[in-house]
């Protein structure tokens, strides 16, 4: 490791807040994209299941 | 009868120096229906807008319960329901939202049940929550007509209420008109249809020479 200690790694001689903020926001945005994908996928699946259930109900009547 | 409903005396209007009607006088009491007839461009809409108080391009007198419209405006508007040529609804809102707003304007405190019932009566069950722009021409007109069922009024002024309405719908509306008139309301309407209601009604024909 280039830094001598973990606290140095965090402070990065004063520029730490900028660097860590950037990485933090980036991780957040990228993770959000993934989470949104999972949510939408779940919603789509649920919608299709409901559709099929409705169809089955009408055909069995 | 001094305290009659709507009374029109010697009304006169012109447009671009063409006289639409002159010396027009009639009276509309509770329990009466009056049809304004006449070919296109004869001035039916112009007359109705004057009577609704939207237009002041006339000379002559218009009285409500014996008092002139200007003086009696507040009472008159409380009793009047006017449905014009225009859409009368916001296209991005749903039928239900449109009705809610219309009722609030008139201070009519209707629960959603009443409104849904009105929409049901005009044949829009299932379309209550869809934005109006995705409705067909006739369906949009029906949303506007649903106001007849949720806003209390003494006098209906209707400008071609049957436009874009299918035959079944026309019969239904004629029935509503009958019921309203039997219940003591007054109706003033224009239409190019042959009106068939159970009551007697009078017809005033505006100038036939224009078209």
């Amino acid at each position: 490791m280039y830094f001598n200690s973990v606290s140095e790694l965090f402070s990065m001689s004063g520029h730490g807040s900028y660097v860590w903020f950037s990485y933090g926001v980036s991780a957040l945005v990228l993770a959000t994209l993934v989470i949104i994908a999972r949510r939408r996928r779940a919603a789509a699946e649920q919608h299709i299941r409901a559709l099929v259930r409705r169809k089955d109900a009408t055909t069995s009547n | 009868m001094l305290n009659s409903g709507l009374e029109v005396k010697q009304l006169y209007t012109d447009r671009d120096d063409r006289v639409l009607f002159s010396d027009l006088s009639f009276q509309l009491n509770a329990g009466q229906l009056l049809q304004i007839a006449g070919p296109n461009g004869s001035g039916k809409t112009s007359l109705l807008r004057i009577l609704a108080g939207l237009s002041s391009r006339y000379s002559g007198e218009v009285l409500w319960q014996g008092k002139s419209l200007q003086k009696n405006r507040h009472d008159y508007l409380q009793q009047l329901l006017y449905i014009g040529h225009g859409a009368g609804i916001k296209a991005v809102l749903s039928p239900l939202e449109n009705l809610r707003w219309s009722c609030a304007l008139r201070g009519a405190e209707n629960s959603d049940v009443v409104l849904l019932d009105a929409l049901n009566k005009v044949g829009l069950r299932g379309f209550e929550e869809q934005p109006c722009f995705s409705l067909s021409a006739g369906q949009q007109r029906r949303v506007n007509l649903a106001r007849l069922f949720c806003i209390p009024a003494q006098l209906w002024i209707l400008d071609e209420p049957f436009t874009a309405i299918d035959q079944g719908g026309v019969c239904e509306i004629e029935q509503w008109l009958s019921e309203f008139v039997s219940g003591g309301g007054s109706v003033l309407l224009t239409t190019h249809h042959k009106l068939s209601v159970s009551q007697d009604f009078s017809v005033i024909a505006l100038g036939a020479s224009n078209v």
Partner: protein
């Protein structure tokens, strides 16, 4: 007319206008997008030097905000006129005044307010010195509300016209000028370290005046516009 009825009327109109605007989307997002993009155009037109931009920032920001507000104004009564719901507003025994007030308020809530809230970010883009940020936002919040009232008068006067829509900007822009002057000078004063409260107070006075008198003018203008 009883108090709660009036309140109900105001709330109904507010609710409907805000819902319609949000659903249409364009009404609240357009002024914002316009504000951001035009602020970004200026550096491209006049050059990117930061100190020069900083010098011009208060003026540019205020002029562009004013334009965004002007553009949004045209639609205030236009839609209601076209779909004949304006007739319904006139044909009720309840007073027109609260309806007009509610409509103007709704309009400001979806145009002027978001614009004011976004302004600090645009200040950054134009290198507005940090001391100017708060006065910019405050002056915009107060100022755009005045602009909404003035604009509503113009919109009401011109809504029924088929020919001669030129009028709106012609009628409204001259009336906007005092607001622009006091608004931008508040920001400039703050940057130069001077007191900016006097200018804000002036904007407050404008606001109270507009609140009291503009609705009357708007009501009259609407009646004239419908009756043609």
């Amino acid at each position: 007319m009883s108090e709660p009825k009036l309140l109900k009327l105001v709330i109904a109109v507010l609710h409907r206008d805000i819902v319609a605007s949000l659903r249409r989307g364009s009404e609240w997002s357009n002024p914002l997008v316009f504000f951001v993009m035009v602020c970004a155009l200026f550096p491209l037109g006049i050059g990117p030097q930061p100190d020069r931009l900083a010098d011009l920032a208060p003026g540019i920001l205020w002029v562009v905000a004013l334009l965004a507000s002007l553009l949004a104004t045209d639609s205030l009564f236009r839609g209601d006129f076209d779909d004949a719901t304006l007739e319904q507003m006139l044909l009720t025994h309840q007073s027109l005044y609260p309806q007009v007030l509610a409509k103007t308020l709704a309009h400001w809530l979806v145009t002027g307010l978001p614009l004011s809230l976004l302004s600090p970010m645009l200040g950054l883009l134009l290198h507005l010195p940090g001391e100017g940020t708060v006065p910019l936002m405050l002056s915009l919040v107060l100022g755009t509300s005045v602009l909404s009232f003035i604009g509503a008068i113009g919109a009401a006067l011109t809504v029924g016209l088929r020919k001669g829509g030129l009028l709106l900007s012609l009628i409204v822009l001259p009336l906007y000028i005092p607001v622009l002057i006091f608004g931008s000078s508040a920001v400039k004063a703050a940057i130069e370290g001077a007191a900016y409260l006097p200018q804000l107070a002036m904007l407050g006075v404008f606001f109270l005046g507009a609140l009291a008198f503009a609705p009357l003018a708007i009501c009259g203008a609407l009646r004239i516009s419908v009756d043609q």
